[in-house]
């Protein structure tokens, strides 16, 4: 016994020594001129996209090395913990990804961010960026971040073959009533659960509710994100929850054990006809070799035809960073037309700028850009950290996760309003959406 263990131990230690020597060699002091960024685009298309953006930066500033620290998981859930620990310890990187809007609030209130209104002025971003988007990176009238992309959240993905075979015209599905009628048609045709949902991670439930609330009208949505919906008997709130309850009647029963991409896969295979998801879902159809407008298509979620729901990622300029100049240079690239048109076609989102080069984008995105330009209203997503304070959103996820199992409208309504009231101090932004 002793010998083998001894050999193993010696082998392990020798390997470790070799490894340390190698690591030591590779870890030679990094050049002083670097840019350190954190983001949660770690895999597949999202990684290719950020790499393309970094390439633009490298072309503009060839002498600066870029150190990326990707941290994946639950739409940045883990990364939030990492960033908050780092920022508190004074180890903030030169820039980090966050959702625009309320996700920046704790950093702003803790005075960890440098205002960058001058940069906005110099780069002339104001005229090319829509007002609501601009408002999402502002606190107290000053700019604190630069948006890099826009994902649309109010999208219904459908399997075109399934709808065609059953005589459902997606263009007519502009109200929830029409949508549920179509679902009934599909159920009769043998598709037991026409809507696919996968809510491992909980935020997908919030995501659906948010689109239904927007469908109640932009005024109501504005009240909701401004913390004004404080009565559990508010007719529009109750109506939205009732719609969601009906919606759940058409949803696959195993939603609790699926991830969002597994739900999309059911639309791809035709086991389900619809799924409500942000437009990063387009990547899943692409991977499966499906063609937009032939195999699958999109409509805005019922009631939100003239609206564009915004999920926006941005970067900022933290205080006291090690390479402040590179931090600002990075923001310039992030906000530039060139940078956005390098990043977004690959990411599957659209540029936050209205002057983007549409020829670079795929067929779905081209349609999205057209909708974006034509949109009457835009609204910041709550499910994705922008619209409402973090303290509220964190509760909302749990409330909706309970709701999708018990469908108890009045319990959810009181929990929602209670969460709004509990976070009332945090509603520091006044959204103007109409």
């Amino acid at each position: 016994m002793n010998k083998t263990v001894l050999y193993v131990a010696v082998a392990v230690i020798i390997t470790a020594l070799i490894c340390s020597a190698t690591v030591w060699y590779v870890m030679r002091p990094a050049p002083a001129d670097v840019l350190e960024i954190y983001h949660w685009w770690t895999s597949g298309g999202e990684k290719d996209a950020i790499d393309a953006l970094v390439d633009v930066f490298a072309d503009d500033y060839p002498d600066t090395g870029v150190i990326q620290s990707p941290v994946a998981g639950g739409a940045g859930y883990v990364m939030k913990a990492v960033m908050k620990s780092l920022v508190l310890a004074g180890e903030a990187p030169d820039a980090f990804q966050m959702h625009a809007g309320y996700e920046g609030q704790p950093y702003f209130e803790g005075k960890y961010l440098e205002p960058i209104s001058d940069l906005w002025q110099e780069e002339g971003w104001k005229p090319v960026i829509p007002d609501v988007v601009e408002d999402m990176v502002k606190f107290d009238g000053e700019y604190y971040a630069v948006p890099v992309n826009i994902h649309r959240v109010n999208v219904v993905w459908y399997n075109k073959h399934v709808l065609d075979d059953n005589g459902v015209d997606p263009a007519t599905l502009t109200t929830w009533d029409a949508f549920f009628d179509a679902c009934d048609t599909l159920v009769t045709a043998g598709i037991a659960h026409p809507i696919a949902l996968g809510d491992i991670g909980k935020w997908t439930d919030t995501h659906v509710l948010e689109q239904i609330i927007a469908g109640e009208g932009i005024d109501f949505y504005e009240d909701w994100v401004n913390g004004q919906v404080t009565s559990a008997t508010d007719p529009k709130l109750v109506s939205a929850l009732n719609t969601f309850a009906t919606y759940l009647g058409y949803v696959n029963v195993d939603h609790v054990t699926l991830t969002w991409d597994e739900a999309i896969a059911r639309v791809i295979t035709g086991d389900a006809a619809f799924s409500v998801m942000g437009d990063w879902a387009n990547g899943e159809f692409y991977k499966a070799g499906k063609v937009y407008d032939t195999d699958y298509g999109t409509i805005p979620t019922p009631g939100t035809g003239v609206m564009y729901g915004l999920c926006i990622d941005c970067f900022q300029h933290p205080k006291g960073v090690k390479h402040p100049e590179n931090s600002l240079r990075w923001l310039k690239v992030v906000g530039s037309k060139e940078g956005q048109d390098a990043f977004n076609p690959i990411k599957g989102s659209i540029s936050a700028r209205t002057d983007s080069d549409t020829t670079k984008y795929g067929p779905y995105q081209a349609a999205a850009i057209a909708d974006f330009t034509a949109a009457t209203y835009m609204y910041p997503s709550v499910a994705h950290g922008s619209g409402a304070p973090e303290a509220f959103t964190a509760e909302l996820d749990d409330i909706m996760s309970a709701f999708v199992t018990d469908k108890d409208v009045s319990a959810a309504a009181s929990a929602l309003t209670a969460a709004t009231n509990a976070a009332s101090d945090d509603y520091i932004k006044v959204w103007d959406l109409d």
Binding site: T42, G44, S69, A75, G76, G90
Partner: protein
């Protein structure tokens, strides 16, 4: 022990049932890591990609190769700090265990309590002071910081393991050495340490598994090139895209060192537990 024939059949059926139950994760890892992205969508995880002959998609080596190329640097990082922290925490634990059993002093039980409670510390609760400390020590984003952290949080459990084992070494052995003129350190080095192979195997394997599988410390204490394999592995899954085949391929590479250790040392690990369970 003799059992009737029927009993033996039942026994093997039971054993094989458990084989299935326990092998499932590895099986799905392997099948998925040989699939193309389309294959992942088209088939259930248990179905292996055997090719169209079985009405299944073609197998591919690509996920495994890509995953390895993405992970190689981080595997090296993980290996370095895991082995270093494992050795340090085992050594310190061994010395503590020895002191607490063989040179008992007033309050040694309190010291033991002091260590043991440390096993239960919830790591999420210490993130902020931890990053602050590492930043002040200049060990933030340094493998040394991870080594220090894992060593410190490893000491409680290794102390416990070694103490349980050393309690079984007859005191007469120590007394005899003492009367021969050996001091405490000499006794440890000459008598206790050579007897410690079984608990070292047990403690080392335990520490290797838990440090290797740690995600939380790795993700807050390092960035960029220094990220450990657990973080890079989680990154293979993506946030708005999901690449199951790449994730599972990466998982195989990530699990490999631990699996090898369990397979090679499995027998000795059990002997370690045999030795540790003998009543003194």
């Amino acid at each position: 022990m003799r059992f009737p024939k029927l009993g033996r059949v039942t026994l093997y059926i039971l054993l094989i049932f458990f084989i299935f139950a326990f092998l499932l994760p590895l099986w799905t890892c392997i099948t998925t890591s040989f699939k193309t992205l389309k294959g992942v969508i088209d088939t259930t995880p248990v179905e292996p990609p055997l090719g169209p002959l079985f009405r299944l998609p073609y197998p591919t080596m690509e996920p495994l190769i890509t995953a390895f190329n993405i992970m190689k640097r981080s595997l090296l990082n993980s290996f370095t700090f895991t082995v270093a922290a494992m050795i340090l925490s085992c050594l310190l634990g061994s010395i503590n265990g020895y002191i607490l059993t063989k040179i008992t002093f007033k309050g040694s039980n309190t010291v033991f309590l002091f260590f043991t409670i440390g096993i239960f510390i919830p790591y999420q609760a210490v993130l902020v002071p931890l990053v602050l400390t590492m930043s002040k020590l200049g060990l933030y984003n340094h493998l040394g910081g991870l080594i220090l952290t894992h060593t410190a949080y490893g000491i409680p459990i290794t102390t416990l393991l070694f103490r349980n084992f050393y309690g079984l070494i007859p005191n007469s052995l120590i007394m005899a050495a003492k009367t021969d003129g050996a001091g405490t350190w000499t006794i440890y080095r000459r008598i206790v340490l050579p007897l410690s192979l079984p608990p070292f195997v047990v403690a080392a394997v335990f520490q290797f598994t838990s440090i290797w599988n740690d995600f939380l410390f790795g993700v807050v204490l390092t960035r960029g090139q220094n990220q450990p394999a657990s973080v890079v592995l989680a990154n293979l899954k993506g946030t708005t895209t999901v690449m199951w085949n790449l994730l599972m391929g990466g998982t195989l590479w990530y699990a490999l060192p631990v699996l090898v250790i369990y397979l090679v040392l499995g027998k000795y690990l059990m002997r370690g537990y045999m030795a540790g369970a003998v009543k003194g």
